[in-house]
């Protein structure tokens, strides 16, 4: 008898399982299918893919990232650092055969700073300017004392009528234009504004390009360079490949002092610190500097002075 009862019990269970889930199956399916197929279509299809399961998975994985208020800082203990002469020796090897005036040394100063707030930015004049091929035009009588002084200071074009004629013919062969005060009336009479104005070259007192003594402005114009902190790093071209180590040292010192001074002049609440100084060039990797001029086994600065 026992086997028959067991068999019956099994049968009855089978019947239940065959009936009950069938009802359940239909009902759950009808709910679930609408839920899974309709919900994403109405809400998510516009932005995400058509696969609802994938979207669901993604949504679960995404966690809210912690946003840091300051830029990431690295541990420099493992970083190999170089003295200036060693870095220059490597860079000069990387840049062999290139034109010594066209290849530039670049400097990047990483700061410990907040992502928001004021940034370090300023203009400065390096002791040895990097970009010296700026063509400057000075408008003053060609035989005056100002003209000779301007030519000595590095102006490429000096004159009055000759320049006006050239500009009217469309030959504008300069990047900056300075006017001497006494020549201003003549320049306005020649209607230079029509030609120079659209190019942003027209001298005006507001811009500081109408001056009494052009030669003093010239030096600033030729050697001036701007720097600005971007993403926690201040970058600037610091020298030409043909500079000697001593000249580079002078440029770097002036630049670093200027940046430090700017950091100090920011409001008291903001604290910026120097994190790292990296020297690189147009085609070389970056060399983290250790602040020394030369190391015990580096070559003499004299050997790095040929261009």
């Amino acid at each position: 008898m026992t086997p028959s009862t067991a068999c019956l019990a099994q049968l009855s269970r089978l019947c239940i399982s065959a009936n009950k889930p069938a009802v359940n199956f239909i009902s759950t399916r009808s709910i679930s299918s609408t839920a899974t197929r309709l919900a994403p279509k109405t809400t998510k299809t516009a932005t995400r893919g058509s696969n609802p399961q994938k979207n669901k998975k993604k949504g679960e994985v995404i966690k809210k990232k912690k946003t840091s208020s300051s830029f990431q800082q690295y541990d420099l203990k493992a970083m190999e650092q170089f003295s200036l002469c060693d870095a220059m020796r490597y860079i000069r090897a990387f840049e062999v055969g290139k034109r010594p005036t066209s290849v530039k040394y670049e400097m990047a100063i990483k700061l410990k700073t907040l992502k928001n707030g004021p940034v370090v930015r300023n203009r400065l004049r390096l002791p040895h300017p990097v970009k010296t091929d700026l063509r400057i035009c000075v408008i003053c009588p060609p035989d005056s004392a100002h003209a000779t002084a301007a030519k000595a200071a590095g102006a490429t074009l000096v004159g009055e009528e000759a320049i006006f004629e050239a500009v009217k013919d469309g030959r504008i062969e300069f990047d900056r234009c300075i006017c001497q005060v006494d020549s201003l009336a003549k320049m306005n009479k020649a209607q230079m504004g029509r030609f120079l104005g659209p190019r942003g070259l027209m001298p005006s007192a507001k811009m500081g390009t109408v001056v009494k003594d052009p030669s003093t402005v010239l030096k600033d114009l030729i050697g001036g360079a701007e720097y600005r902190e971007r993403l926690g790093v201040v970058r600037m071209a610091i020298g030409q490949l043909g500079f000697t180590p001593e000249e580079m040292q002078r440029n770097i010192r002036v630049f670093m002092e200027a940046v430090k001074k700017d950091m100090g002049q920011l409001s008291e609440k903001i604290n910026k610190e120097l994190a790292e100084v990296v020297l690189s060039s147009t085609n070389s990797p970056g060399f983290s500097l250790n602040g020394d001029f030369r190391s015990p086994n580096s070559v003499t600065p004299r050997e790095l002075s040929t261009s």
Binding site: N51, Q72, Y74, D75, L76, A78, M79, E80, R89, Y90, R92, A93, F94, V96, G97, K98, P100, T101, A108, K110, R125, P127, H128, P129, T132, A152, A153, G154, K219, I222, G223, L231, G232, V233, Q240, L241, G242, F243, T244, E246, E247, R250, E276, V278, P285, G286, F287, S288, V299, R302, E303, L304, S305, T306, S307
Partner: protein, 198 residues
Amino acid sequence: MVSVVRRMRNLRTLLAIRLGPGAAVFPPEVNRIHMDFAAKPLDGHMGPRKFFKQCLPRLKFHNPAVPMTVNRTTDITGPATLTIHFADPATAGKTSPAISSTTSSTTSTGPVAASTSPAPTVRTETIQMKHVHESEILSQVMALTKAKIVLPTPEEEQEIKDLQQQRVESEEISKKAKIAKEARKRAEAVISAAREST
């Protein structure tokens, strides 16, 4: 700023600048090296180009005071020459290296180093580089100048071994990653195909 790890990886190229073909020290009488060849690597100008790209940086690193100039023309039919200038060996060792800075006193406010000239050139040797392999150019330069080859120090040899080890390991890892990626792509393709059919 680029992360420290990535910058350190870049700096591994420094080993390749210190050692390899072209790592040699010239005797003091070598005054300057000048190369003349075409910018395009056609008609026999490939050897000179490779010599310039691969060997010249190493020569410059070990001889920082020797000016090395390169003039690349647009004319591939022209010659490809390498000229070595020699000074008098008797005086060459005594005169200090020349100074020639690109600063000018008109623009600089700091002190500008007065440029000095190197020991006068007494003879020049020219190597015809057209249709010559870079290793052949290098061996000719070494023979003409009697340069001393720089050999790796024990530490540098260790560094080279470590780098090779790293390279082997990273290759294995990339192989594994490639297999895993392919398997994942295959699985994804099967799933998407099944979805499209339903």
